[in-house]
């Protein structure tokens, strides 16, 4: 049982790390301001979800009511990130639009 819990916890933690790495690499590789926001704002949300899920599963080694409350508290972090991340991304995009920054498109690249 302990081995199963460990395997699941490691799996989700590694998945979260891959998503965070993807977010970081995406910020560098994407061509312009707007498309950079896609990996920056979004891969992080699933990354933090996977990592918290991994930690919660790891917590289940010795189950008690306090551990359950701790897990709920950790999921509250995910909940607030899910609320705050789209809001922040939207306001950054909005700021770019108001400043008049033109999005990168494939056509302008070819011409």
């Amino acid at each position: 049982m302990h081995i199963l819990i460990n395997i699941a916890a490691i799996f989700f933690l590694a998945m979260g790390l891959i998503f965070f790495l993807g977010g970081a690499v995406g910020i560098i590789r994407m061509p312009d301001f707007y498309s950079r926001l896609h990996p920056a704002g979004k891969l992080d949300t699933l990354g933090i979800f996977a990592m918290v899920l991994g930690l919660v599963i790891y917590n289940l080694h010795h189950f008690s009511i306090e551990v359950l409350l701790l897990s709920i508290k950790m999921f509250l972090i995910v909940f607030f990130v899910f609320l705050a991340s789209p809001t922040a991304t939207h306001s950054i995009v909005d700021a770019g639009m108001r400043a008049g920054l033109r999005p990168w498109t494939r056509k302008t690249k070819k011409e």
């Binding site: 998503f19 590789r29 704002g41 409350l69 909005d94 639009m97 498109t105 690249k109």
Partner: protein, 181 residues
């Protein structure tokens, strides 16, 4: 979308509805559950303090969080809970697509950023806000502007992310808030 929200709250606080007791109860339960989760102790003293402070907060702010809450809106809540797992599945699928794009060696040939505009026909501000948040949460698409008439401008990273946009997601959100025409 934030401006719409604040206007709506202005109208809410002016409208003193008869269901103040109902929204008081909801706020009280919400506050007390939060107290229990965050404290994690079950002494009678601490639980009593929790009940006391939740009651004070609910008394002062019952017209802020769940203002004008009625029994019909419980149906909205239930449908919203059924909509959440679907949204999480969409987010996970789209995240894997985004990960594939980011690590692809010829990423610049794959992506095709463009701005799409569409009219959703959603009426209430909360439905528009939910749809805008759902679009932004799904990787590959970011809401740029959403008007109070339900018009959306969305920046999308490639054609595949954008193809299902005004359709399925709009129908789910419209179903949650009972706006199916």
């Amino acid at each position: 979308m934030k401006e719409n929200r604040s206007e709506k709250q202005g109208t809410w606080s002016r409208k003193k509805s008869g269901s103040a007791l109902f929204s008081f109860c909801i706020t009280f339960v919400f506050m007390f559950v939060t107290w229990i989760i965050l404290s994690g102790k079950f002494d009678p003293l601490l639980l009593g303090l929790g009940i006391f402070s939740s009651a004070i907060v609910a008394w002062f702010f019952h017209d802020l969080l769940f203002a004008g809450a009625t029994m019909e809106q419980a149906g909205v809540f239930v449908r919203f809970c059924r909509y959440m797992p679907w949204l999480v599945m969409e987010i996970i699928k789209a995240n894997f697509h985004m990960l594939y794009l980011v690590f692809h060696p010829r990423m610049r040939q794959l992506i095709d950023p463009h701005i799409i505009q569409f009219q959703t026909g959603l009426k209430s501000d909360i439905a528009i806000t939910t749809l805008a948040n759902a679009i932004t949460l799904t990787p590959g698409t970011v809401t740029i502007t959403a008007t109070s008439e339900g018009g959306f401008r969305v920046h999308s990273i490639d054609r595949k992310s954008a193809e299902g946009l005004p359709g399925v997601m709009r129908d789910r959100v419209a179903h949650v808030y009972g706006e199916n025409r």
